[in-house]
């Protein structure tokens, strides 16, 4: 696949085909990123733009960067984004009311001006220039060429980058650190509170679901010694969902009668 893409990059015509198919798709996905309502959809569209860019890198003789783009961006960064989206709430949909009146139209007009300026500038700057190509620079292989540069000319920036990475990791840890406002209740204190609450029944702990009932499934309340069901033995989640079964139908004496009738 990569070799095929590299071959595409070296011949002009297939690369043009690749470009004219993928570039409109990338631009469409990028515009879609702005107009879709849900942040998750934006993330998926951005992942697509990043994959497209990786293909362009590979097509432009930057095989190493293409792979790094997929591994770092679509692999790590986008997963981090999706992870945070799940944490913050997937369906926290954004209000589309403008806080500053007319901001959207001002932004779009200004961006058309900015983009037009950038593109016309590029058109003037690179007109008439021939592409040197990377055949010479990549003669020992793209990864080897990059390694040579990084560990000779760019070794100082490389060291600084490592310091930056450590700083970022420490910074994220500091930001994620959560200071407790109230003291954590220890197991010993919980136990003492149970015994001092007055009733010894509270000290014994709650019955598990299904105890003494015919079925020991999680949605069947336990039967107390007097035969009455104990709803407190069922998880609050199941209770809230209405999935709790009525355990009186599973009472032992009812079933014994049924067996005798048979």
């Amino acid at each position: 696949m990569i070799n095929y893409a590299l071959e595409l990059g070296q011949t002009a015509k297939p690369e043009a085909l690749l470009f004219y198919i993928l570039a409109p798709l990338a631009v469409a996905a990028a515009i879609g990123m702005l107009v879709v309502k849900k942040a998750v959809h934006s993330a998926i569209l951005l992942a697509w733009v990043m994959v497209t860019l990786a293909i362009f890198y590979i097509a432009q003789d930057a095989a190493f960067l293409g792979i790094v783009q997929i591994v770092v961006y679509t692999g790590a960064v986008m997963m981090l984004f999706l992870f945070i989206l799940m944490l913050v709430g997937v369906d926290s949909s954004e209000s589309l009311t403008e806080t500053i009146k007319g901001l959207r139209w001002i932004a779009i007009t200004a961006s058309i001006g900015f983009g037009g300026l950038l593109i016309s500038l590029l058109g003037r700057a690179s007109l008439g220039r021939t592409t040197a190509g990377l055949a010479d620079a990549n003669s020992n292989g793209n990864v080897e060429g990059l390694a040579q540069l990084i560990f000779s000319d760019y070794v100082w920036p490389f060291e600084v980058i490592s310091a930056l990475l450590i700083t970022a990791a420490v910074g994220a840890m500091v930001l994620a650190h959560h200071e407790r406002t109230v003291k954590r209740v220890s197991q010993r204190e919980q136990s003492q509170a149970r015994f001092r609450s007055g009733s010894l029944a509270a000290a014994a702990g709650l019955p598990g679901p299904g105890v003494f009932a015919l079925h020991n499934a999680v949605d069947v309340p336990a039967l107390l010694p007097d035969g009455s069901p104990a709803p407190s033995s069922i998880s609050a989640t199941l209770k809230a969902r209405g999935d709790m079964l009525d355990s009186t139908q599973y009472q032992l004496d009812n079933n014994d009668n049924a067996a005798e009738d048979k």
Binding site: M33, G115, G171
Partner: protein, 99 residues
């Protein structure tokens, strides 16, 4: 094909990212648009590397990726911290200094 086409694409993507930063209100989407702008800049680095015939542009693009990864880690940590205290990921709600 003229390599400048990649530069035009890069300029377009950068502009779209800039629009997104201004008009979207969800902090995470704003952040994704910043990532789009960084990616667009990377594409022009790679293209210029090819136009000039040396690998320096690719090295710079590589460094940009590392810086972007750092930025994502710290930025998302800030968003989560704001969300934890204000229960909202909207950039309009982070106006503690105003009132």
């Amino acid at each position: 094909m003229n390599s400048a086409n990649y530069l035009y694409l890069s300029a377009l993507l950068f502009t779209i990212g800039a629009v997104g930063v201004v008009i979207r209100r969800n902090a995470i989407v704003v952040f994704m648009c910043v990532e789009l702008m960084l990616n667009a800049a990377n594409l022009s680095f790679v293209t210029f590397s090819r136009i000039n015939g040396n690998l320096d542009g690719q090295v710079v693009a590589f460094f940009t990726m590392v810086v972007a990864a750092c930025e994502v880690v710290v930025g998302l940590a800030i968003i989560v911290t704001i969300y934890r205290s204000r229960r909202s990921a909207s950039v309009d709600d982070a106006n503690l200094l105003k009132r």
